[in-house]
Subunit: 426 residues, 2 copies
């Protein structure tokens, strides 16, 4: 822990800079950084970091070597997917190095009329900031940036290397986080301030994305009995996958990490498109789906399960039996990840949490993914997922709590100080 | 019937012009005259007719008065929907006047890789011309134009007014045909050479188009049990409408015109779109549907039945019960139509058919619509639907028979001669 005097100076600096931090988060939220359109935000962020005196490395997914865990990208150009790493490189580094990483891609906001406030307006009301990405996870990005700002404003600096990284693709493949590692950035720990509500993420499920492609024979609806309806065949596949998911959840009831969570494996038919004309039986239908997997299952096993399910369901459909539906792997094929208890990094974070919140750091097991898996599973770096508090990830009226932004910034600043060590700013 | 010598001269002219007729049909097929994009074909057609010496009236759906039977158009500009009427106006007209009408709009061709020949290439193989619209109904348009050409090439002309009309919107609303009547064109009979395979259409069902709009609350799939999936709610409505259709077909078993036809009422979910992201529970889903109605049912009754079905189905869905789905009327709301047997026009057509095919003119009852209903139901003009032969309307490898193009042109030329009377060309 930084000594009490240093800590007071840092917390005072957080308070002094808090209006700027909130405005910075509003700036972030106002970028509609949807998949494939993150670059303007990243450009702006790189300039913000350069203005603070960090060394900035801006690169794209096309600039890094291949890796077996790179996930397929469909309809998005890797060369347009910009990553930013801002480096704090102290003279004669000591202590433990740290990666602070946040994703700045957001999921689509859906119909605007279902939002109380426009999704990219970053409106503040009654202690909440509303907007797509305000919660997931631009608030966390603002915390990590302003935790570092406050340390420096207090006349201090981390004694070790610290990388401040903003990445893309967290919501679709994870390739942005992986790319920072393939670019070569390593540290003794990584903290990703996803909006966990001040809890540490103990376990995360894996995710598989896939597209079902059904083709049918369209005919004039006047003779519809001679054709096959691709929309209805797709529906048969969706129903089979719901049944498949039930069986997977039954098997997960004694999973060591998810036994206590009802139905940890979520299946979601998330996008559907099919047919061209109301009066023609549809010739095609595509459904973009997502399914989870629990620790103990590999992505390859989960994918084989999907294939077997679809194959079996197609047998029961007279058209699909002769025209097998296709499965296209469209993104995520991620391993589940468990942050094994007992790491020094987690202990330091727990102490920082306790110093701010006055109690034990709660843990959560999530049924979604986050980028920490790359650090923990493939690069031997403890990946801590801990961040501020908000509501309605991926939904309408997504929002982040303003006061929790402040407390989370305190916790992260404390963690940086304890993990890296502090010294007077050089 | 024209006298034998005149008839021989006309048939010889059909044969002499047949290569040109086939090439004309190829030209027609090569226009991708999809809904909203028919104007270039109509412009070309108007020039073709003007070059033949007809007086050409080109106007749009925005140029005609309102009418209660005008159907709603969604996403298509009436001012861009061009109609063409080419008038043969003999000096001192005698005999009975005639409207020859064909639609030149086509339905979407679907994925090109499912076609043996490109859908707008008008490839001819083994006596068939392939292409979207070749069969439905550009072949019929070529028949009516070249039947008139042949009469004139034989040194003759109809003694009465003849209007050659090409219209849009037959596949979606019928507003094109209605617009020609609202523009003021009337005659003693109307012939629409839809590809009936040399049969007369005795009865047609009506059609209703509608869009189901479901809105849901999207959430991160990690907490999917808290949200509702608009795609699955839409499927619940589709299933209810299939059940509704079964009940309608059961009731239609003693329909005077459709008793002999199994399940004359077709329901088709033809287009589906929903959701934005594989990992968000979808917030919205829209399904464009089509359902039929048999004679004895009004469009208003059919629409009320759809509304009641959707309302009832929504009650059984916890989300939709509080967020009622919407129904948008998106096009067709057409009356069924029966060509009452016994008209003089039909008798003359039957005689023309017999003179070419050597037997009785078969009749058909179709489970789809055609434009003749406007003539018969609202303007007291017998509407004859009779035309050439082809296969796979609205499907892949749609095609028309080249030889049937010739025989149908003979029948139509004979009918024109008999109905209107012929005189030496003035």
């Amino acid at each position: 822990m930084p000594d009490a005097e240093a800590r007071d100076r840092i917390f005072a600096a957080i308070d002094a800079g808090f209006d700027k931090q909130v405005a910075f988060l509003q700036d972030l939220v106002r970028f509609p950084s949807l998949r494939g359109r993150e670059a303007p935000l990243q450009d702006w962020f790189a300039r913000q970091m350069a203005a603070r005196g960090y060394a900035v490395d801006r690169f794209t997914l096309a600039d890094v070597p291949e890796h077996p865990k790179m996930a397929p990208m469909v309809g998005v150009d890797p060369a347009g997917s910009v990553q930013v790493v801002a480096a704090h490189r102290p003279a004669n580094p000591a202590g433990r190095s740290l990666i602070l990483q946040g994703h700045i891609d957001v999921v689509p906001e859906g119909p605007h009329e279902m939002w109380t406030h426009p999704p990219y307006a970053a409106v503040i009301r009654d202690g909440w900031m509303y907007g797509r990405g305000a919660h997931d996870m631009k608030a966390g990005v603002a915390c990590m940036v302003f935790a570092m700002d406050a340390i420096r404003a207090a006349g201090l600096e981390p004694a070790a290397d610290v990388y401040i990284e903003t990445v893309t693709e967290e919501e679709s493949t994870g390739n942005g986080a992986l790319a920072t590692l393939l670019r070569g950035y390593r540290a003794d720990a990584a903290l990703i301030p996803e909006p966990t509500g001040h809890t540490i993420t103990r376990a995360q499920t894996g995710t598989i994305w896939f597209r079902l492609r059904v083709r049918g024979v369209p005919v004039h609806v006047a003779v519809a009995q001679d054709g096959t309806n691709a929309i209805m065949s797709a529906y048969a596949l969706i129903n089979a996958l719901y049944e498949h998911t039930k069986a997977l959840n039954a098997a997960a009831r004694d999973n060591p990490w998810y036994a206590g969570i009802k139905d940890p494996i979520k299946f979601n038919p998330g996008i559907i498109r099919g047919g061209d004309w109301a009066s023609s039986t549809p010739a095609w239908c595509e459904v973009d789906c997502r399914i989870g997997l629990v620790p103990g299952t590999t992505p390859e096993e989960a994918m084989a399960g999907i294939e077997a399910c679809v194959k079996e369901a197609a047998k029961g459909d007279s058209f699909m039996a002769n025209n097998p539906p296709e499965i296209v792997w469209t993104g995520f094929r991620t391993d589940p990840y468990v942050l094994e208890p007992g790491s020094e990094a987690e202990a330091v974070l727990a102490a920082a949490h306790a110093s701010v919140h006055g109690g034990e750091m709660p843990e959560r097991r999530t049924t979604a993914v986050n980028d920490t898996r790359y650090y923990g599973l493939y690069f031997g770096i403890p990946g801590l997922c801990y961040g501020p508090k908000g509501e309605v990830a991926h939904g309408f009226d997504e929002r982040t709590s303003i006061e929790d932004l402040r407390t989370c910034t305190r916790t992260i600043a404390t963690f940086i100080g304890d993990w890296c060590g502090l010294r007077p700013r050089g």
